[in-house]
């Protein structure tokens, strides 16, 4: 009966398998752990992620390997993105710990296990070479996140955010599936590399394809959180417990970048002219609405949500400018610029939410911009860290955000889209205003609250390291830039 069954090559998926096994094990072990000893679960989670990173690092061959009947791909891009992913999740878990300990209903083993499953989902997305794999990864991520948003059961706001996220997320998954089915109808395959081949051979019904593409891009745009599919972002960012917002606002951006690359670049590159036109609109709208709406916010989490929208819009510019008139000369440069942008953004975003978590105490969320009033009086060091993060987000040198914007802008100019670069620059200027306002509140205003910051040492060290990394990588961005470029060179 199993004569035809060939054991697939499991090695490329070794980190995923390890993580899945460990997540299940941790779920069991946690049943035996008392609430007061939740550190065990935490430590196991972190060890699992470090283990994943080690496996990832040592099994990486640098070649493009397909497995599970071409449903799964392991290339250098996925290796690198996953390594960044583990790093981000480790940081996120560290940041979250104090926050959830202070909040009774969240200090459960499920928090860590859900985070691990979400990570697994993202890993699957990053390595997907098949529509179904993408969908499975995406759903695993989304379902875990819905639950995490709702974990603070007593909070009306969180519950509402979770509902909103769930309903809209389901809708977006529907859009994505519908798009996929159209493309399947046109090309007769669900495999991403297979689709690229069919399209190259020609003879595919273009109108069905474009129709499918529209839905596909819509679904992706929702997951990325770009305008006009951004409505969930502010509500979820604001409503979710801050530690979960931190999670949503960082790691999934890496996975979203990966599926954009897989679907649009690996799969539908011959349709570049069509999806580029769509992405230009999404990108310009995101930068406009993201930056303008952020100005009006008084809630820091909500402001960062709009800022995330504008950052994702900016990141898309790199993807837009990869292919010019069918000429892929600039592709590597442009895509690696986008990848660097995502990595830089994740680092900044993690740091900023880390700062909010650092300020938060039991019963106090520190999520209003005014909660940062006079921080320079209370703690000059952390005001300095937040200052660096804000200027980095605004794209002012010497911080990593500047070189992220720089690399994307040079890709845009290389492709000859000077007007797009101008638009991007003008909206970043507008965006600078609200980052400056946070700095203003910290430095120019008197503190409303004189209580010294009470934060565990590990949190202090980690947030500081995060902020300093933003500065350090802003002075020495070369390593990560070339890593991104090299990974894409070996993967495209």
């Amino acid at each position: 009966m199993f004569d035809n069954f060939v054991v697939p090559n499991l090695l490329p998926a070794a980190p995923e398998i390890f993580l899945a096994v460990m997540a299940l094990a941790i779920l069991m072990i946690d049943l035996l752990v008392k609430d007061s000893r939740r550190t065990v679960t935490f430590a196991l989670t972190q060890l699992t992620l470090v283990g994943c990173a080690a496996i990832q690092f040592f099994t990486s061959t640098g070649d493009v390997t397909y497995t599970f009947s071409n449903m799964f791909v392991d290339d250098l891009m996925s290796d690198l993105l996953k390594l960044f992913l583990y790093m981000t999740v480790v940081i996120v878990m560290f940041y979250s710990r104090g926050y959830i300990i202070d909040r009774e209903s969240m200090n459960k083993g499920e928090y860590y296990v859900l985070a691990l499953f979400a990570t697994l989902g993202m890993m699957v997305m990053i390595s997907a070479n098949h529509f179904l794999t993408i969908y499975i990864g995406l759903e695993l991520l989304s379902l875990s996140l819905y639950a995490m948003v709702a974990m603070n059961r007593d909070s009306v706001l969180s519950t509402e955010a979770a509902m909103k996220y769930f309903v809209l997320g389901a809708l977006a998954s529907g859009l994505l599936l519908y798009g996929m089915s159209m493309i399947y109808g046109a090309t007769g395959t669900l495999e991403i590399t297979g689709i690229a081949e069919r399209l190259n051979d020609g003879g595919v019904n273009k109108s069905v394809l474009v129709f499918g593409l529209v839905f596909l891009v819509g679904g992706l745009a929702f997951k990325l959180g770009v305008v006009p599919f951004h409505m969930w972002i502010p509500d979820v960012y604001q409503g979710a417990p801050t530690s979960v917002t931190l999670f949503i606002g960082s790691a999934p951006k890496l996975a979203a970048f990966a599926i954009v690359m897989r679907l649009l670049v690996n799969g539908l590159i011959t349709m570049a002219a069509d999806w580029q036109a769509m992405l230009v609109i999404l990108s310009v709208l995101s930068m406009a609405i993201g930056n303008l709406a952020a100005i009006a916010q008084t809630n820091l989490k909500r402001m960062l949500a709009y800022s995330a929208i504008s950052h994702m819009g900016f990141m898309l510019l790199g993807i837009v400018t990869g292919v010019v008139g069918g000429d892929p000369r600039y592709a590597l440069n442009a895509y690696s610029a986008s990848m660097f942008y995502v990595v830089a953004y994740v680092l900044m975003s993690a740091g900023t939410f880390g700062m909010i978590l650092l300020m938060a105490r039991a019963g106090f969320e520190a999520e209003e911009i005014d909660d940062f009033k006079g921080l320079n009086k209370r703690s000059p060091w952390f005001a300095g860290i937040m200052l660096m993060l804000m200027f980095s987000m605004a794209g002012v040198p010497f911080f990593i955000g500047f070189f992220a914007k720089f690399s994307v802008l040079q890709a845009v100019i290389a492709a000859g889209y000077t007007w797009l670069a101008l638009v991007a620059v003008l909206f970043s200027l507008i965006g600078t205003f609200y980052y400056l306002r946070v700095v203003k509140v910290m430095y120019f205003d008197a503190p409303a609250d004189d209580t010294p910051l009470v934060t565990p040492l590990d949190m202090r060290i980690l947030v500081s390291a995060n902020g300093l990394a933003v500065a350090f990588l802003g002075i020495f961005p070369q390593a990560i830039m070339s890593l991104c470029a090299y990974a894409l060179l070996r993967s495209l």
Partner: protein, 494 residues
């Protein structure tokens, strides 16, 4: 001496000193912070002196060059060097930093470490701007220097400081973002190089030259500032603490003008010629119109701020006549303005510290209670008005001489402002210093102490030295200005 990376030291010593000062922490350690800052500033100044001593005046090219790769992926280099144009500003900047630290010695009692650190770090960043020979390196310093000044205005400034800080930051950022795009365009035009010196040789068609010129113009015009994008300056000046005003006037305003010489003229000679009328026109408006605006000011700081704009008008006017006389005159004017406006703002700060008002109407008869101060203030007012034997005269005179050769009416327009300039400065001086003692505040004034006297004395010596014997200054810039003019004379259109 040139074995040492002098320019890197000139950039990084103040920045490191700033970080050390920051590390002294809260105001409990304020005396320590002050001493560290002074030591850092003096060390940073001393390190720039070998630049002058070891400078080869016959060489118009770059000296003390340092070159190493920074971001190979985009061919961005850590490329430093000075020529006769930039060398003086590095020294001026280091010098002014000492003045600023000394000026805030007693006045600043709040967040002393942060205050001094901001100035030291800014000083290092500004040296970076003057010495960068790589477009991105220049830009990075150019924009990073906004952060300390934003904080200085916002934290230690006057009542409307928040508005002024935001206006300052966003205005200048707007200019520099367009500049960034222009740099990227040049990067691709030159086949992947951010080297400013290579851009000097790069042929560019007239159309792109015009666009690039306009992008540069906006960036530098905001920084200079030229009319009509000057409105941020009076706000920033009025709200900034004394030290902030000194640095703003003495150094920050020079950045834009310096940008014209380093970027616009040599990289885009044809567009510079083509659009010189525009720049000359804007400069004349700044000189004449802004001088009249200065005349009606009631706030002393605002008056000096407007006079700065008028003086910087002379600078841009001098540049765009494309003659050695004009450019050297403009450079002398820039250095001189560094001393004079710095001193003027310090004088106003001295009065403000005692009376807490900058309104001219609140003063009168100050000479009765502060005779030493009145004498020194007189000297700087004269220099500001361009009286012969002060440094203010040399630059303006050279620019006007250059203008006479260029076009009589331009010279006429520029020369009228010497009259108006004398009018607004001396009228202000008369109302503040002479006359009867206006009120009990003035009656209770105490004359300047040793620290203030030393600061003003040093500045007075510099002003007089430059006014009586400007040759050491012009000699340094001569070869580089000639080189620059050769670049500007050759068309790049092929």
């Amino acid at each position: 001496m040139s074995n040492y990376p002098l320019l890197s030291l000139a950039i990084w010593i103040p920045i490191l000193a700033g970080l050390v000062v920051l590390a002294t922490g809260g105001d409990r350690n304020a005396p320590l912070a002050r001493i560290f800052s002074l030591v850092g500033a003096v060390a940073a100044f001393l390190i720039t002196l070998p630049l002058w001593a070891g400078f080869d005046v016959a060489n118009g090219g770059m000296q003390f060059v340092e070159l190493s790769s920074w971001i190979p992926r985009f061919h961005i280099n850590y490329h430093l060097g000075v020529d006769g144009i930039s060398m003086l500003f590095v020294i001026l900047n280091a010098f002014i930093t000492i003045i600023v630290v000394a000026a805030g010695w007693e006045v600043i009692q709040n967040k002393v470490a942060q205050y001094n650190a901001a100035f030291l770090i800014m000083s290092g960043l500004m040296n970076g701007i003057f010495t960068s020979l790589d477009g991105v390196l220049f830009y990075v310093f150019f924009e990073a220097s906004l952060i300390p000044l934003y904080l200085i205005i916002g934290v230690w400034g006057g009542p409307k400081r928040v508005y002024a800080a935001f206006k300052f930051f966003l205005y200048t950022l707007f200019g520099s973002l367009l500049f960034l795009l222009a740099l990227m365009y040049l990067f691709f035009q030159s086949g992947g190089s951010f080297s400013i010196l290579e851009w000097h040789k790069l042929p560019i068609a007239l159309g792109p030259q015009i666009w690039l010129f306009l992008a540069f113009l906006i960036a530098f015009a905001v920084k200079v500032p030229m009319w009509p994008v000057h409105t941020w300056l009076p706000d920033a000046h009025v709200e900034a603490p004394t030290g902030g005003s000194i640095v703003l006037a003495a150094i920050a305003l020079k950045l834009g003008a310096y940008g014209f010489l380093r970027f616009s003229l040599p990289i885009l000679p044809d567009a510079s010629h083509e659009l010189s009328g525009l720049v000359l026109g804007l400069s004349l408006v700044a000189i004449i119109y802004i001088s009249f605006v200065a005349l009606v000011q009631e706030d002393m700081k605002k008056l000096v701020a407007y006079s700065s704009i008028a003086h910087m008008g002379f600078v841009t006017l001098g540049f765009f006549m494309f003659s050695a006389m004009g450019i050297e005159g403009a450079l002398v004017q820039m250095v001189s303005h560094g001393f004079v406006s710095g001193a003027m703002f310090f004088c106003i700060g001295v009065m403000y510290d005692r009376v807490h008002s900058r309104q001219i109407a609140d003063y009168g008869g100050v000479v009765n209670t502060m005779p030493k101060f009145a004498a020194l203030f007189m000297l700087f007012s004269m220099a500001n008005a361009g009286l012969p034997a002060t440094s203010g005269f040399v630059g303006e005179f050279m620019v006007i001489l250059g203008a006479v050769k260029f076009n009589f009416w331009v010279a006429f327009g520029a020369a009228t402002s010497m009259v108006v300039g004398a009018a607004y400065t001396l009228w202000m001086y008369k109302r503040v210093i002479f006359g009867d003692v206006a009120n009990h505040h003035v009656a209770e004034l105490s004359d300047i102490n040793l620290r203030e006297f030393a600061i003003l004395g040093v500045l007075a010596i510099a002003t007089l030295w430059m006014g009586l014997h400007p040759q050491p200054f012009t000699e340094v810039m001569h070869a580089s200005v000639n080189d620059l003019l050769r670049h500007v004379a050759i068309s790049k259109i092929q």
